[in-house]
Structures are given as structure tokens and as C-alpha cells.
Symmetry: none
Subunit: 189 residues, 4 copies
């Protein structure tokens, strides 16, 4: 594939991403993408055979670009800051959830039992648990069951995301929930 092709493919994926964010997965047609990219009907088929293929590529590029905040702590003293940064990033994502691929992912993965989403969730839980372990070891966090705490945090975040998606979640609500999650870890004196 030539350099130009690579760029074209990138253009398609980037354009398609915006459409997936706006319309979810199922409602997006090849025609939508063709028109948004301003290429010809047949042109798109040179790169992708269907919307699923494009969507998976969008996810792949997104995953590639994502930085794993959770894995960035290298000593116990950083654990708290890293956790706070993670929470802040989550909050930000929840607040702008309609500008993310959340709907599309939900639509896609609720009917394509792929393990992709599950894997990512599990990985996040694991990294979070490791972070908590680090903090507990350094006596930054209270001595909790790190696995259970990590899972609890992730489920609450997932719940917030879903509610934000289907209704309204105020910034205050998110702050309050995150506060509660953090307090569960903090050493009470």
C-alpha cells in the first residue's frame, strides 16, 4: 500500500469515527461514510468491505492512541496522584460521553460478543488493582482487598457512563461518586 493509500485510509477512519460518534454503529451506512469522505461509492470498497471493518479499525486506532494512565505509577508515593489523574480522566470522558464512541461500542458489542471490550475492562481492573496494591504497600492507601476495590471502582464508573449515556449526569453527581470511591481507599485517621 502506497503512502497515499495510507493517508486515504486514515482519512476514511477519522471521518468514519466522527460519524460513529454521532450515529452509533448500526445506523451508519457505507453511503454515510462515502458522502462524508467525499470519495466515490466504489472508492470506499477499495479499503473496507463493510462498516464493521471500518469500526474495528477505528477502535484499533483509538486503542493505539490511548495512553494507559493506570500503568504510569512507578513508586508508591505516585499512587495517589495517578489514581486521581485516572479519576479525572474518567470524569472528563463521562461528561463528554456523547462525543465519544461509547454508544457505538455499546451497540456493536451488545450484538457482537467480541471479547475486545471485556479484555479492556479486565486489563483496566488489573492495572487498577496493581496501583492500589502499590499504594497499600506504601501505606498511601488503607489496607483493602485491591481486586475487590478495583472492580468496585470500575463498575461504578461503568454505571456512571451508562447513565450519562441514556440520561443526564451532572458534574456534581460524578464528583460525589468519585469522592466516595477515593474515600474508600484513603487512610482514615
Amino acid at each position: 500500500m502506497s503512502e497515499k493509500s495510507v493517508l486515504k485510509k486514515k482519512l476514511i477512519v477519522d471521518t468514519a469515527k466522527k460519524i460513529f460518534i454521532r450515529k452509533g454503529f448500526k445506523a451508519v451506512s457505507m453511503k454515510d461514510i462515502v458522502e462524508a469522505c467525499d470519495i466515490s461509492r466504489g472508492g470506499l470498497y477499495l479499503y473496507f468491505s463493510d462498516t464493521e471493518e471500518i469500526f474495528l479499525e477505528v477502535l484499533r486506532q483509538e486503542a493505539e492512541a490511548a495512553e494507559d494512565i493506570l500503568s504510569s505509577a512507578d513508586d508508591a508515593s505516585a499512587a495517589f496522584d495517578v489514581l486521581a489523574a485516572f479519576m479525572k480522566a474518567q470524569k472528563k470522558e463521562i461528561l463528554r460521553i456523547r462525543k465519544t464512541l461509547a454508544v457505538a461500542k455499546l451497540e456493536y458489542f451488545s450484538s457482537h460478543k467480541g471479547s475486545l471490550l471485556q479484555q479492556q475492562f479486565d486489563a483496566d481492573v488489573m492495572h487498577l488493582a496493581q496501583l492500589i496494591d502499590l499504594g497499600v504497600a506504601g501505606e498511601v492507601f488503607a489496607p483493602v482487598d485491591s481486586q475487590a476495590a478495583a472492580e468496585n471502582i470500575m463498575y461504578v464508573l461503568e454505571g456512571l457512563r451508562t447513565i450519562a449515556l441514556t440520561g443526564r449526569v451532572s458534574e456534581e453527581t460524578i464528583d460525589k461518586e468519585l469522592m466516595i470511591l477515593m474515600q474508600g481507599l484513603i487512610i482514615e485517621e
Copy 2:
């Protein structure tokens, strides 16, 4: 509307519900429903003009039929049992989530900013908070911020539901999460 019409409408709604459970919201066409109901194409239009109208009626009938476990406690001593029953019902629903309208609801409400789902969530939070208050007053539960506790429980449940929908959640995982939620309320000695 004649009695016959009412029955016909009920038939349509009941049949459509099964289809929405199986296919979600977006993928269901008027044709699907016509064929499943074994009525005429034009016939369906006498009762509903599109799938959205049918879906909302499905939701209405479901809401009507739902019993509100959370509101059933009338004295403090029952609070614990009612909460346990609620948790058990939630667990059951999560385990059979693919046989519920969860996917369809998610699909529908993520692109139709109706307040229906939000209202129900808020109502559940409120009832749960009242239940907790009742339990706290009767010293069945530890003295917690009932509103915050209720919200936390609901978000965890929502998160479990979403993860169950897009991946796999084992019965053990659910049990563990529910246990943690319950323990947060129990009086430690």
C-alpha cells in the same frame, strides 16, 4: 377502541417485545413485527405508525407490570429483607440480561434523549434511599448518607448490567459485588 382492538394491540406489543429483546431497537423493522404478529402490513399501521411508538408502548406495559420491591418495606425490621430481595432480583436480571429489553433500551435511549430511563433510575435511587433511611432509623443499617449509598448501589448495578451486556459476568462476580454493597450498610460490631 373496541375490545377486539385492545386485544390486537396487546398481541402486537407482546410479540414486538420478544423481537426487541432479540434484536435490540434499531434493527427491528415494521416488517419484522408484521410477520411475527401474522397480521397484514397495513393492519399494523392502524395501531402504530413506527417502531418507536411500539417500543414506547412495550416499555409502558413493562413499567405497569413491574412491581416495586423497594417500596414494599413498611417497618424497619423488614428493611434488610427487602434490600436482600431487591439485590436478588437485580442479580437475576443481570444473569438473564440478554433475555431482557436492556439492549433495546440502551440503543433507544442513547439516541432519544427521553427522560423515561432517567426518571426510573431516579425513582429507584429515591426508594432505595428511603429504604436505607428506614433501616438506619431502626438501627438495622449503619448510619450512612442514605442518598450517597443508594446512588453508589445503583451505579454499581448499572455497571454490572452494562458489562454483562457487552461481555461476560459470572455469577460469582455479581455475588461478590452485591456482598460488598450490602456490607457497606451492615453494622459492624
Copy 3:
């Protein structure tokens, strides 16, 4: 299916037949038929799902309408006349072969190894052999191997048909070939 539907279906089949005669089988699209029948795109699909289905129905109706000249002899004295009538009908068909379904059949059956054509050929051979037997028994025909004679006649006719289809066969050529075939059966004195 209502009476009107039956008529519509007949209209489609009759119209399609003309198109198959003109364009063969492979080159005919659903669009061609839709346009020729002056019905809507979707309308055609109410009756047939693809050109193959229509073509087979055309063949069925043609077979139904066909009269079996060969089986019409009931005594030896008629054998010669029936054979002559058959030959005349064959000649007529060969001369107007471009106005028959011959091309379409050839195209269709050369890639769909259905036994339909084979069956018809075998049936013709059988009836022809019976006719010859009848004539031989009544001493109208020379004592020949009726099966071999029938096959030979049918292969020559098939050959004439094919040559007529792909090139030019004059009426004289056909007459000469048919004459030779008849002479092979006639009692020489």
C-alpha cells in the same frame, strides 16, 4: 393468491419470455424485466426472487403448453404422417430458432446441470422410438433398430438446431437432412 395476482404473474412470465428469447439467460437482469413489465422494482420481488426462478417458470409454462406430436399416433397407418408432422414442426422451429428460448436454454443448462433438458431429450427419443416401432410393426417403416434410429434423428435435429443458432442453416439444408432421415426409415422397393 388472488386472481389478479395470477394474472400479474402470467404477465411477468410472458413478458420475461420475450426478453429471454431476445437476450438469452445470463444477460437478463431483474431490472430488464421490471422495466419491460412496467411494474415497480419491489413489485417484481413479490412474485419472483431472481431471474432463474422466472426462467424456470417460463420453461414450465412452455412445457405445459407444448403438445406432444410424437405421442399422437394410435395405429401404424398414422406413423408416417405423425413422423412427417414432427419433422415439419422441427423444421419450423429450427427456422425461427432465434425467436425461441433455444439460446437461453443453452446458456442456462450449460451451467446448471439440471436434468430437465436431458429428461425432455430422453422422452423425445423414447416417443420417437415407439413411433418407429409402430411403423415397423405395420410395415410402414423398414425394419430398423428403432432406438438407434430415434437417437440418430434426435442428434441430427439437435445438431441442426445448434448450427442454426450459431450460424446460418438454409431451408434447403434442413429439407435435405430431414429427407435423409426419413429415407433411412422408408421401405425401399
Copy 4:
């Protein structure tokens, strides 16, 4: 045209021939040929502008390569052997008819009234008649109307070919038919 061009053209024609054998004429697209030849889309157009042009070149090369068995007899004593060899070659071709260009030719010439096929048929008839004349003169064959006999043989062969193409013809059937044809020429004692 450079040597390289000639080779390329040969590659295209040879590859295309295989495709025409497999798919007939109408179903073959420029894309099929491009892919099979492993050349570029535009590259093919440098040599041929459509499938018809390629097909005609395939036929030309085939005709060039074909050896004319019928013209190989130079004295009467060889007439019988040459005829037998011709019959054997015909039988072989009929048995492997699906591995020949027969379908493609039929498809092509039934809608492109080229005289190519007709010419070849006429030439075969002529050579066959000359061969028979030679045999008759040398008293190897019975004194028949050589033109009529040659035509009859060719039509039977054409009929066998067509039936073999659209149905099934057993080796025995071919042998029997060829036997009958030969016997018509042999001097009965």
C-alpha cells in the same frame, strides 16, 4: 510490438482461455482476467479493450494450433484410417466437452452472428466430403452422396456435442452413434 509485449499478450490469451473454459463467455469480466493474469487493471487495456477482443484472439490461436486431421489423407487406402482418427478425436472432445471452449463459443456465437463458426463447420464438411470422395473412388467406402454423408456426420456430431453440454452423454452412446455413422459408409458385402 516488442518481444516482451508479444509474450505478455500470449500470457493474457492463455490465461483468459482457461477462464472462458470455466465460465463461458458472458460471465467473464475484465476483472477476472486481470486477477488471473496478475497484471494491472490498466495494463490489460493496453492489449485488449474488452473481453470480446480477447475471446476472438483465443479462438484465433486455437484455430492456428488445431491440426486438420481430415486433410491428411493423400490416397484412398488411408481414407478409412483418417476417418477413424477423426471420429476418435471427436469422441475425445465430446467426452471432455466441459474442458473445452464449447460453452463459451455457443454463448458468444449465439449472440454475435459472426461467420467464424459457420466457416469452420463448412470447411469441416468440405474436407470430410473430399475424404469420403477419396474413399469412394478407391472403393474403400460405399458409393454415397459424399456431401450429404459429410453433412449428416457433422450434424450428428454437433448434436452429440450439444447434448453432452447440457446433459450427460455416456461413452457408449457416443460409440454407438459413431458406429452408425461409419457403417453408413462401409461397403456391405
